[in-house]
């Protein structure tokens, strides 16, 4: 089975994958990357400065074959609305 590498970028932080994992196809690797991106996003986005998590999937020659990005966007209403008049 082909080996894929899953490097994770969380804002400015980069966590390279030294080991890689075997998947039967690129489709299977894509599904695994999507699942992991959602999990990592839920885990990391609310408590770090990073606003997006990207998983770069590379093939056995370390060539990038796909990326998955999860973004959290927070928009505050500015100016804050005034309380309604009685």
């Amino acid at each position: 089975m082909p080996r894929f590498y899953f490097d994770v970028r969380e804002g400015t932080r980069f966590i390279p994958d030294a080991d890689g994992l075997e998947f039967e196809s690129l489709d299977a690797a894509e599904h695994a990357a999507a699942e992991a991106a959602a999990e990592i996003g839920r885990d990391r986005l609310p408590k770090s400065d990073a606003r997006d998590i990207t998983i770069e999937v590379k093939n056995e020659h370390r060539q990038r074959v796909l990326t998955v990005t999860i973004t959290m966007a927070i928009h505050r209403v500015d100016p804050e609305p005034l309380p309604p008049r009685a």
Binding site: P16, D19, A32, A33, I40, D43, R44
Partner: protein, 218 residues
Amino acid sequence: MLEGAAVRPRQVNKGVDILLEGDRPPECTVLLEGYAGRYNLLRNGKRQITALHLPGDFVDLDSFLVKRMDHAAMAITPCTVGVISHDTLREISENHPHLARLLWLTTLVDGAINRRWLVAMGRRSALEHTAYLLCELFVRLEAVGLVTEDSFKLPLTQAELGDALGLSNVHVNRIIQELRTEGLITWRGETLTVEDRRLLQQLAEFDPSFLCLDREPR
């Protein structure tokens, strides 16, 4: 101590089921060598490993009283298992109250471990949860003499570790890279070395007292 009462030792190959969900075994199985896991399968094929067992552990003490298995158990590595019949366990529990208390304690410790897993799975980050599981395995293996110079055998694949943590294997892969980069562990082949036990335990908020490994009258 009860391992001595286990009879009919047999080998179970890696990945093979020791028991299936729904079985009604007439005996309880004790793990003598190797690592085993209890698990439940979902209809979509996903698996949750609900407990990891080490030499000396029962993989199904519950079958003595519950009768019908509500989970399966499989050999994570090649295992040697023995059995103690329910009749023998009944005799032990009726005639040797201190051994009955020991069996009771075993189920309580299993329950305490399950609670820790639940807390970690529900409320902790993936990094803290993984650190917790490694601390737990370290202390349990140390108690049975299977830790040498802060290293122990961790023969689980990342997918199996993910099934125990409730995380995808790519996520587990990222967590392992982070624990390694932070200098907390190294994991080569099947050997996991805890490089900084204090920091790992601190990250995991790990206090081993729930495992009741200290000797005191019970």
